[in-house]
């Protein structure tokens, strides 16, 4: 599908693997985990994107409106690799593992394979994976994005993924700085979007 992209020679890592519970800079307990299939958490993730402030959209995603969000996620859900962050309800020690007790989904990061036929992937290391990450507005600037990104890369490494790329709007300096901190480097031609890539251990 896509042309071959450039990747750093040196691999980055190791990164932490989910699940983890972290405390954000606001003192909130945030649980990060990797669902086996996005479909099991689809409703909660759709709900998160439905609350996402459209002024923070980038390059057309996420779409707006529940139906379009669901359609977008269902289109890319197959073979995608996901991590989800929940805000755990305060002081509620709950052994019941039903979805409701997890608290609401407040951030989502994913990798989508750049392959014509994702179902035919034999080795995740053969494929280039596109990354995207979204954090709900009330939970931004609390360190959650950095944790979520690192856990996604840790999870990716666990499942044999080696090459990850993304595009980011060229003027989005906070996002570019975040990606650089974990090891992404600028690659490819610059236009409205900056392409960046990372090689995993």
């Amino acid at each position: 599908m896509g042309r071959a992209r450039l990747y750093p020679d040196e691999p980055s890592g190791p990164f932490p693997s989910p699940p983890s519970t972290i405390e954000d800079r606001e003192g909130r307990d945030i649980e990060i985990r990797a669902p086996g299939e996005l479909t099991t958490d689809l409703d909660a993730v759709v709900e998160m994107y439905d609350q996402f402030d459209p002024t923070d959209r980038a390059q057309g995603i996420p779409p707006t409106g529940e139906d379009r969000i669901r359609n977008w996620l269902e289109t890319i859900a197959d073979e995608s690799v996901n991590v989800i962050a929940h805000h755990k309800p305060d002081g509620d020690i709950d052994v019941d593992s039903s979805a409701d007790s997890d608290g609401e989904v407040i951030a989502h990061a994913m990798l989508v394979p750049d392959a014509d036929d994702p179902a035919a992937i034999e080795d995740n290391g053969d494929i280039e994976w596109e990354l995207a990450i979204f954090v709900l507005q009330d939970y931004q600037q609390a360190g959650i994005g950095t944790h979520l990104l690192k856990h996604l890369l840790g999870h990716a490494s666990d499942v044999g993924i080696e090459r990850v790329w993304l595009t980011v709007e060229r003027w989005n300096n906070p996002a570019i700085a975040l990606y650089e901190r974990v090891g992404f480097e600028a690659s490819g031609t610059e236009s409205f979007e900056q392409e960046m890539s990372i090689r995993l251990e």
């Binding site: 390059q59 057309g60 977008w72 890319i76 596109e130 236009s191």
Partner: protein, 122 residues
């Protein structure tokens, strides 16, 4: 309206041309098709020129067809500037596997430099 459409050699270019031909038929625009030199494309300049000729004759639409040599963005903007065009039409970007809209460097150059109205076809 006097319309100039710029084509590389991608599937996006084919879509752009089809939509522009449809629009030309609907409203009776004057159409000029500029086939750009873009060696890394799926179709060569000659192949794209032929395909454009075929699409025009299929639709029964009359248009001027030109080849522009050199850097595609600047050649297209220069051609638009020299002629009496009301609108410059180019492809509106591709979608990444994630569904992100991606605009290439040619699109950026055209948007920032063209003196005419620019239409991006999606």
């Amino acid at each position: 309206m006097n319309v100039l459409v710029g084509l590389g050699g991608s599937d996006e270019s084919i879509k752009t041309l089809r939509q522009t031909i449809d629009r030309t038929q609907d409203v009776g625009d004057d159409l000029t098709i500029a086939v750009l030199e873009k060696p890394e494309s799926k179709r060569s300049q000659d192949e794209m020129y032929e395909e454009a000729t075929d699409l025009l004759s299929e639709a029964g639409v009359d248009a001027d067809l030109v080849r522009l040599e050199g850097d595609p963005g600047s050649a297209l903007v220069d051609h638009a500037e020299q002629g009496e065009f009301d609108q410059l039409v180019i492809g509106g970007g591709t979608l990444s596997p994630m569904g992100k809209i991606q605009l290439g460097p040619i699109t950026e150059f055209v948007l920032l430099n063209a003196p005419t109205t620019v239409k991006l076809v999606r």
